[in-house]
């Protein structure tokens, strides 16, 4: 998946707010994973995925200006890459949109639960 090289699993971060992106980055790195991104918008995230598909994704749902991370979530689903959604809102249509099997975290994100999700990822190449 990551070109045959061994190393920590790679986690894509999609989050439009810098402070939060950095927070996620810190959490992911502290948990022993490599960070892909962070990306602030869908286009950047999709470009990163096409360049080198990650092993997992941490996606902020609402990217501002009425945009959501749906295209990225769809792309990751298509590639079979697991991801977790972080959102300020917990609404029914969002659950229906992404399916009940997709894990979801409410902001402010519970670090412990995010790390638990990351631990379920099989490291690349193993």
């Amino acid at each position: 998946m990551n070109g045959g090289t061994t190393g920590p699993a790679r986690v894509l971060i999609l989050e439009d707010e810098f402070m939060i992106a950095m927070e996620f980055e810190t959490i992911v790195q502290d948990a022993g994973f490599a960070v892909v991104g962070p990306a602030a918008d869908v286009d950047t995230a999709l470009a990163l995925i096409e360049a080198n598909p990650p092993d997992a994704g941490v996606l902020d749902v609402n990217l501002g200006h009425g945009k959501t991370s749906a295209p990225v979530a769809d792309r990751l689903s298509a590639l079979g890459v697991p991801y977790i959604l972080c959102t300020g809102y917990q609404t029914d249509d969002l659950v229906q949109r992404y399916g009940e099997n997709v894990p979801m975290l409410q902001k402010p994100v519970d670090t412990v639960r995010l790390v638990e999700f990351l631990r379920t990822i099989e490291p690349a190449g193993q």
């Binding site: 810098f18 300020g88 809102y89 902001k107 402010p108």
Partner: protein, 663 residues
């Protein structure tokens, strides 16, 4: 013509009609009266003729006896029959004067001849014949000629009759012809006959030797007069008292009575008495029909003309009323604030009110016949126009539709119209027109959008802020060795965020003025320092405001610790301006410190500078150049205007419209 004039004209026509009808009636009436008068005169002429013929006969007999004083009955009969038929006369008789000395001889002759069994006789009160009472002279009937009937009166002394004696005596005394009042003749028939008897004295050598009488049947005369025409209903004959002073008989002219149109009177003088003959009647039914027909025709023609005039002017007035109603409607429509279009069921414009015309540049001919959804009034966006088109199609099917439509952008901005499309049914129930009204509800939409934005922004901010604080705490903890410095740095940052939120809350989270953000964040660092802020007020969005607040906080914290603001003579200049053209507009912000202590490039970049450099880049797609020049710290921030311009409701509305069109 005004309605008053037309009413007046109609009145005049009615008046003329009535006058014409009255004239027609009077003419007809006059012709009727004249016709009747002629009829009556003809009838009277008949009566005259009969009377004259009868009286002439009586006079002729008088002359006969004057010439032949001793003539017997045979002589009378042959004389009368020699004159030919006489109508009107009932009987003729000759009464010979007999002196009392000759009575016995006359009696004997009468008895012997069988004419009278008692000789000369009188009529008693009981209508019985009795021998004549003693007198100097007797006037017994010695010869009679009956045109009708056979009643014999031989030997009857004429002077013994109470109703006739006066006339007889007058004839004997004056030697003039006289006549009786109207008498009732005794007849053998059931019907009594009314009549008048004329007496003519037979004077020979100044001596009255006898009397000739002629009786006339008045009823027969009346019947003759009445038979002249069916229009004559009644003929009356009155005979006046005997007046002999006038001498010769005189005919007076016919008299008509204006108060009795069909009444003609003729007065004639016959033998000392005035005959008043009254002829009355009515015109025939046909005549009446003709008269009323004429009148009706005249009236109908006149009233018809009046009705036609009134009808015409009423129609004209109604036409004017309709026209003025239309004008009123038009004025009302023109006075309306909403745009009102009238279209055919296919949505092609047939009319518009003033507001609508103004919205399309007062070009009525330009929009007439155009499909309403294709007017340049609406934003040229497929979804926008399609929504209106669908509404037109549905309304043409009888549904009322209501929708929001975006107008095209003008120098006054862009409007959202609340458009109602209503079908208008003709009398036959088919939809003949559509009324499309459009009310500019931009303000309302904007207010609703503002509220929606506010709610979204608030929610977003609330959740994110907690997350950010979590991150700030973690990062600040990582980069500060002592608890005190950690606390200060943390509190400073959190306070900055709180202040920015404060400002945004006052602006309803729609954005904030950059100058206000800058001045507010500089406040804690001022303390008598020379700070110059140059830059026009620019509204930026909440994200931009927060980013600038944090950036100024980090720069200011650094400046007050190590830079220009750490010494009294230090100076700080801040300015901002726009760069680039419309498509690529950028806000360029400068922070320049001078007159401070010599600047040393820090050995380690702290969280502050990291925040400053990466936050702007990451959140706002901008560029931050932080320069630790020896003469002073300088920072240049450049952000695409597109990323920090405040959102307006209409932009949001457009986005929503686009989303709606997709889904």
């Amino acid at each position: 013509m005004t309605s008053t004039q037309s009413r007046l004209a109609a009145l005049v026509i009615v008046a003329i009609t009535i006058a014409a009808a009255a004239f027609a009636y009077m003419s007809w009436r006059k012709s009727q009266v004249d016709a009747f008068s002629a009829t009556a005169r003809a009838s009277l002429a008949n009566v005259d003729l009969v009377l004259d013929r009868a009286l002439l006969t009586v006079r002729a007999v008088q002359g006969y006896y004057v010439a032949n004083p001793d003539a017997n009955e045979e002589g009378l009969v042959s004389f009368v029959e020699g004159m030919g038929p006489v109508s009107g006369l009932r009987a003729l008789a000759f009464y010979r004067r007999v002196p009392d000395a000759e009575r016995a001889g006359v009696d004997a002759d009468l008895i012997r001849s069988g004419r009278s069994p008692i000789g000369i006789w009188n009529l008693s009160g009981e209508h019985e014949r009795v021998p004549a009472a003693r007198a100097d002279y007797y006037y017994p009937a010695t010869a009679t000629y009956f045109f009708e009937g056979t009643a014999s009166a031989y030997g009857f002394d004429i002077r013994s009759h109470p109703n006739r004696r006066f006339a007889v005596d007058m004839a004997i005394q004056t030697h003039l012809g006289t006549s009786t009042d109207v008498l009732t003749f005794a007849t053998s028939g059931a019907e009594p006959i009314r009549g008048v008897v004329f007496y003519k004295p037979v004077v020979v050598a100044g001596d009255v030797i006898g009397i000739v009488s002629g009786s006339i049947d008045v009823d027969r005369l009346i019947a003759t007069a009445e038979a002249a025409s069916p229009d004559i209903h009644d003929v009356e004959i009155e005979i006046g008292p005997l007046e002999l002073r006038g001498g010769a008989p005189v005919d007076t002219p016919n008299v008509t009575d204006d108060t009795k149109p069909f009444f003609v009177v003729d007065e004639q003088n016959h033998s000392g008495r005035v005959w008043r003959i009254e002829v009355s009647g009515t015109p025939g039914v046909l005549d009446y029909a003709r008269g009323y027909g004429l009148m009706t025709l005249v009236l109908l023609a006149g009233l018809g003309a009046a009705a036609a005039l009134i009808g015409y002017t009423t129609a004209a007035r109604r036409g004017r009323e309709l026209q003025s109603a239309e004008t009123r409607l038009r004025r009302t429509l023109d006075g309306l604030v909403p745009l009102v279009f009238m279209t055919d069921p296919a949505g092609q414009v047939v009319g518009a009110n003033r507001a609508a015309l103004e919205s399309v540049g007062n070009d009525e001919t330009g929009i007439t016949g155009q499909p309403i959804d294709k007017l340049p009034l609406w934003e040229d966006d497929a979804a926008n126009r399609d929504a209106l088109h669908v509404a037109i199609v549905r309304a043409a099917a009888g549904e009322e539709r209501r929708l929001d439509v975006l107008s095209s952008e003008t120098e006054l901005g862009q409007s959202v119209y609340d458009v109602a499309v209503r079908p208008v049914a003709a009398e036959n129930g088919e939809i003949s027109h559509l009324v499309v009204s459009a009310l500019d509800v931009s303000e309302r939409v904007e207010a609703a959008e503002t509220e929606r934005l506010l709610m979204r922004e608030l929610d977003h901010r609330m959740k994110n802020t907690l997350q950010v604080v979590q991150g700030v705490v973690r990062r600040t903890a990582h980069s500060h060795e002592t608890v005190d410095s950690f606390e200060n740095a943390l509190l400073g940052r959190i306070t900055t965020m709180a202040r920015a939120h404060d400002l945004l809350a006052r602006e309803r989270w729609l954005g904030a003025d950059l100058r206000t953000v800058v001045l507010q964040e500089l406040q804690p660092f001022e303390q008598g320092h020379s700070i110059t802020v140059t830059g026009s007020p620019i509204r930026i969005n909440p994200k931009g405001a927060l980013a600038f607040a944090l950036a100024i906080h980090e720069l200011g914290t650094n400046a007050i610790k190590y830079g220009a603001l750490s010494v009294p003579e230090g100076r700080l200049a801040i300015d901002w301006s726009f760069d680039g053209d419309d498509d690529d507009r950028r806000l360029v912000f400068h922070w320049r410190e001078t007159n401070g202590p010599k600047v040393l490039v820090p050995e380690r970049r702290g969280f502050g500078s990291l925040l400053l450099e990466r936050s702007i880049t990451y959140d706002l797609d901008g560029k931050t150049d932080l320069e630790f020049a020896p003469e002073g710290v300088a920072c240049r921030i450049e952000i695409p205007w597109e990323r920090i311009r405040p959102m307006t409701a209409s932009i949001h509305f457009r986005e929503r419209l686009a989303e709606g069109a997709k889904s």
